[in-house]
């Protein structure tokens, strides 16, 4: 007994290739370094902490990005199970790794002003972002439910804190509480689903039962033989529900507006981009992996999910005037469009690339909107309404243009990158024969023009005298802020004018 156990352990550790996870490990080390600096320099060097923590984190991200791009082969061995089947690397999850570093980098960049202004502790915030970045990067490489669950919880627990970070603000606390309760619930459902699958697949009475009911490949072969089994279906559905919560698919979207509104703006952007992207990617991996044989059962459910999500997101966003709730609701509709690509990936292999392309453009355009929101430097973003954008262009043309480009790209206006992404997504949906869903998606896009353009209009609209103006009279940007905005504007436009350029990065 003991022997076989040590043999098993030895066998597993043979495939422990720690070097592959170096980027994640580096990020985690930097996270602890930042915490350490904060701890040991407690009393005397406040200024030092205020000034240098941020650059350390930013340099860390840039370093990790650099090694991921330049030394790709060191951290990437294709299609072999590492760590005894816990980790599996593919081209697409390597892309997602860089994606999350980008996202975290942007969040860090836009969080500085907010943290200083509200005099919130910087070190904790940066620490949590770094850790959840590492969590996200691991999450997309998981090929085992245990590692998946651990990574997911690493990220989610970090988010519980990040959402409620502004402890003095009632809305932020309320959002934190709601996110904690509902997140806990969704985790419970997810875990329940995983356990059901583990239990049924390990049952010796089942056809083709397996030892390791958490491992994706093993599960795939088991479910392939037992796709009609009630418990298998129930387990898969529960797992799906748990993931849907992260993406914000109807009917698991109910937390989105409240939490987005209350969360600090940088956290909201991290939640909107990284959390959603991770959810979508994990969903594709599950559907193409363990749940492949359940297509007949899952496709109708996913289609209904997609229809409901697109319609709900868009319809409830029309007439919504609170900016952060609007971002949350329109984000729900984007998740719905993405689901189109997820469903298409059953039949069309390129659909995965298209989804990744869409996610990248969603990241760039969203951050353009979020960065301009953060740089406006408002007293309280949570109460900001579309009409408060009035006169933004007059007050600061660069911010006005940045918001315009970001919103227009989210709306899918040519020739911006968001347009190309939507067109590609709709083309794969067409090729996959999802005509009904396509029609719904197009209706959704038409509805979305309504609220996106109302928003755009107010940017260029000159406010009335009597209008209570939430924006500051004069908005000035620092040089790095200008550079960030210009880079984002440039990349969103360039992605529309010359989309093949992205091939160099993928």
């Amino acid at each position: 007994m003991n022997d076989s156990y040590t043999n098993f352990l030895r066998e597993i550790s043979l495939t422990n290739d720690w070097l592959l996870l170096m980027p994640e490990i580096i990020l985690a080390l930097i996270a602890f370094a930042i915490l350490g600096i904060d701890l040991f320099l407690k009393s005397k060097k406040r200024v030092w902490r205020e000034k240098y923590l941020m650059p350390v984190a930013i340099c860390g991200y840039i370093f990790v990005l650099g090694i991921l791009f330049l030394d790709k082969s060191t951290f990437y061995i294709e299609n072999i199970s590492h760590f005894g089947g816990l980790i599996e690397q593919t081209d697409s999850n390597q892309f997602m790794r860089s994606f999350f570093v980008f996202a975290s980098l942007f969040v860090t960049l836009i969080s500085g002003q907010f943290l200083s202004k509200k005099s919130l502790p910087k070190a904790e915030y940066l620490h949590l972002i770094l850790l959840s970045c590492a969590g996200f990067m691991l999450l997309v490489q998981c090929s085992h439910f245990i590692s998946l669950f651990v990574c997911l919880e690493l990220v989610t627990v970090a988010f519980y804190v990040l959402v409620a970070f502004q402890r003095t603000n009632v809305l932020s606390l309320e959002a934190g509480l709601k996110y904690l309760t509902l997140g806990g619930l969704s985790t419970a459902i997810l875990l329940f689903g995983i356990v059901l699958l583990y239990g049924i697949s390990g049952n010796p009475e089942m056809n083709g039962f397996i030892n390791d009911g958490f491992q994706f490949q093993a599960l795939q072969s088991f479910i392939g033989l037992n796709s009609d089994n009630l418990i298998v279906q129930l387990g898969a559905l529960f797992v799906l529900a748990g993931i849907s919560f992260k993406i914000g698919l109807v009917p698991f979207q109910i937390w989105v507006p409240d939490v987005y509104q209350g969360a600090p703006t940088p956290t909201m952007s991290f939640l909107a981009v990284a959390s959603k992207a991770a959810g979508v990617f994990v969903l594709i991996q599950l559907l193409q992996g363990p749940f492949l044989a359940l297509d007949a059962f899952l496709i109708p459910i996913l289609s209904v999910l997609s229809v409901l999500t697109i319609l709900f997101g868009n319809i409830s966003a029309t007439g919504q005037v609170n900016i952060k709730r609007l971002i949350g609701l329109s984000g729900i509709s984007h998740a719905g469009y993405l689901l189109l690509g997820v469903i298409a990936s059953y039949t069309i292999p390129q659909a995965l690339d298209v989804v990744l392309f869409y996610l990248s453009l969603y990241l760039l355009s969203s951050f353009l909107v979020f960065a301009s929101l953060a740089y406006m430097d408002n007293e309280d973003d949570s109460l900001l309404e579309t009409k408060n954008y009035q006169g933004l262009y007059k007050k600061n043309p660069l911010l006005g243009v940045a918001s315009l480009i970001g919103i227009a790209s989210l709306a899918g206006v040519p020739p911006l990158g968001g347009f190309i992404a939507k067109v590609l997504l709709f083309i794969v949906a067409y090729q996959a024969g999802l005509y009904g869903l396509l029609a719904v998606a197009i209706i959704g896009v038409v509805i979305s023009i309504y609220y996106y353009f109302a928003w755009i209009r107010s940017i260029f609209f000159i406010p009335n005298e009597d209008n209570t103006d939430c924006l500051k009279e004069v908005i000035t940007l620092t040089a790095p802020q200008k550079i960030i905005l210009i880079i984002l504007i440039g990349s969103v436009s360039l992605a529309g004018l010359y989309p093949s350029l992205l091939n160099f990065f993928i």
Binding site: S186, P251, D258, F297, I315, S316, Q320, I447, Y450
Partner: protein, 615 residues
């Protein structure tokens, strides 16, 4: 520098210049002219290096968007025809930018002007280098846009504002046809790449379609101001004169002809026939109209129309090389004439009516001599550049169809006639206004480009001496003419008629109008004829009538439909429905966490039921 870098820097240098000028902010006024001038010099040297190293033709292609099996490409194609255009555009642009430094010296919005000119150069270079119809169309729209901006440069004036709008709208009509043509071409051939189109139409001529051809030449009709879309060009003279010289005489209007030459292989014989006849018509019609104008720039604008008619006519007769030849010679002498007119206008304190000028020869000798050189080139006087191209046009026309030939010869008489009228009245006799009597020679920054361009106006007709083997298609077309049966007889006959045309035209106009007259004698002696010519076949009035009596009621009806049915019922109704649903959905967002949890479980349950086909 390798050729690709050279091409790309040539394309993006003007764009960068334009952005740089805008980014200069409040220093714009001071630095814009020098930045634009340096960029024009840079562009000319880049073209020089490029043309020196250019093999017969280069083609680069990049994947724009790959999607599964369908791939879309963008690319650069530079062959001999494009290289010839490029050389012409770079030289003319440099002369005109230099001239503008003087002409626009007291303008308040110099920055906008030079940024616009640089942006125009970017778009024009784009048209020349594009390797497919879609890219041509994009740059085509960009030149239209920059032309719109520059015509409306003096937007404080009502005239300039409406002229820029007119140019924009009329061009959209042509471009709409062009766009449909491009879409149908893609449908028919499966590509819009010019080289592939040429190969495919060569392999399978049955793919060519007269209908598509007519749609494609809509773009040409709009941009080159051919009948019936010619109405915008005379009005476009409301822009600054250097713009008229660059865009509305030398380059942009010629882009229509360039487009024809690029796609000549997919135009069927019916389309060519139509182009030949409509070109001849415009050549004559515009010549007539020029007699009834008293604005120096408008006379030149009608002359441009008429010369574009010549180019179209010869293209329709199947000699695209000679069309290119006339395009190039015309670009130089017409740019010269416009800049000369600009110098005159500048000296006369923005007086544009020729009857208020007079006697300028003694006051502005350099401008006058260069202007007269331009006129002689335009009239096709032996030895000047216009002679060579017009001579070959007439020879070819004689071979093609004798009716068209006589019309075109008559057009040559008219050209000499209206240009003679302009010369005698403006430069000779006595000054007819205070502004004209106080006029004096313009500064060197304006005369040097005039002198340079007059050199080109004299010598550019000697195409055998062009460097870098430019204009190869011209040589081959001329060779073809030289080997026609009875070439010697025809040539003699054309020479006699052509010389008679300018001698008679200039002479009769001298006798009829007299030197430096202050009023239009045609108007005095034959008011009816003058009124008829002034009416310009009432095309503008026809459009006005159409807009007022046909389009307006239709628009009002559509607006009613839009107001009541579309906006009232469908959109408002739809928005209302969406709004109500939105309110309903928001009610779900009660904010109570126990409700949220319940909602969560109900959702899960429903999905379960749906998944196992319970409903």
């Amino acid at each position: 520098m390798d050729i690709l870098t050279n091409l790309l820097s040539l394309l993006f240098l003007p764009l960068g210049t334009s952005i740089l000028i805008i980014a200069l902010g409040k220093h714009r006024k001071k630095y814009a002219p020098i930045v634009a001038f340096m960029s024009a010099i840079g562009a000319l040297s880049l073209s020089y290096i490029l043309l020196k190293n250019l093999p017969e033709s280069v083609h680069y292609s990049w994947e724009w968007l790959a999607f599964g099996d369908s791939k879309f490409y963008i690319g650069i194609l530079l062959d001999n025809i494009g290289a010839t255009m490029l050389a012409m555009v770079s030289i003319v642009a440099l002369c005109i930018v230099t001239f503008s430094i003087g002409y626009m010296s007291d303008d308040a919005a110099k920055g906008r002007f030079f940024a616009g000119v640089a942006f125009f150069m970017f778009s024009m270079t784009g048209i020349i280098l594009a390797d497919n119809l879609i890219m041509i169309f994009l740059f085509w729209e960009l030149v239209g846009f920059s032309s719109y901006l520059l015509i409306g440069h003096y937007f404080q004036k009502e005239e300039a504002k409406s002229a820029s709008q007119k140019a924009f709208i009329v061009n959209r009509i042509g471009d709409f046809g062009f766009l449909i043509g491009i879409i149908l071409t893609y449908w028919q051939f499966g590509t819009t790449n010019i080289e592939l189109l040429s190969i495919q139409s060569g392999i399978d001529p049955s793919l060519m379609s007269t209908f598509i051809g007519f749609l494609l030449i809509c773009g040409f009709i709009g941009k080159s101001a051919q009948f019936p879309l010619h109405v915008w060009l005379p009005d476009a003279m409301a822009g600054p004169t250097p713009v008229s010289a660059l865009i509305h005489a030398a380059t942009m209007v010629a882009a229509g002809i360039y487009l024809l030459i690029r796609i000549d292989f997919i135009l069927t014989s019916q389309v060519l026939l139509f182009i030949a006849y409509s070109g001849t018509f415009v050549a004559l019609f515009a010549g007539f109209c020029a007699f009834a104008q008293d604005d120096i720039k408008r006379i030149l604008a009608y002359s441009t129309l008429s010369q574009l008619g010549y180019m179209a006519a010869i293209f329709g007769m199947g000699y695209s090389g000679i069309a290119l030849f006339h395009l190039i010679t015309h670009a130089f002498f017409k740019a010269l004439l416009f800049l000369g007119a600009g110098a005159v206008i500048h000296a006369c304190h923005h007086e544009q009516s020729i009857f208020k000028m007079g006697g300028l020869f003694k006051k502005m000798p350099i401008t006058s001599i260069t202007f007269i050189i331009g006129t002689l080139a335009l009239c096709g006087v032996y030895g000047f550049s216009g002679f060579y191209s017009k001579d070959s046009i007439l020879i070819a026309a004689n071979d093609y169809n004798s009716t068209l030939f006589y019309f075109l010869v008559f057009g040559a008489f008219m050209t000499a006639g209206y240009m003679g009228r302009l010369i005698w009245i403006v430069f000779f006799g006595k000054a007819n206004s205070e502004a004209a009597s106080s006029a004096h020679e313009v500064s060197a920054v304006m005369t040097v480009p005039l002198i340079l361009l007059s050199g080109f106006a004299i010598f550019v007709g000697l195409n055998a001496y062009w460097p870098f083997g430019l204009g190869a298609s011209i040589v081959s077309d001329l060779d073809h003419l030289h080997h026609l049966s009875g070439y010697k007889e025809i040539h003699k006959w054309v020479l006699i008629l052509g010389s008679a045309a300018w001698i008679v035209g200039l002479g009769v106009s001298l006798i009829f109008y007299g030197k430096g007259s202050s009023e239009d004698r045609l108007q005095l002696k034959f008011p009816k004829v003058f009124a008829f010519l002034k009416g310009r076949l009432w095309v503008d009035e026809l459009y006005q009538y159409y807009v007022n009596h046909i389009q307006k009621p239709v628009a009002e009806f559509l607006s009613f439909v839009d107001e009541v049915i579309l906006r009232g019922i469908i959109v408002r109704g739809g928005a209302g429905l969406v709004g109500v649903l939105g309110v309903g959905f928001r009610l779900l967002q009660v904010g109570k966490i126990n409700n949220y949890v319940l909602w969560f479980f109900v959702g899960l349950l429903l999905f379960w039921l749906y998944g196992i086909d319970l409903f």
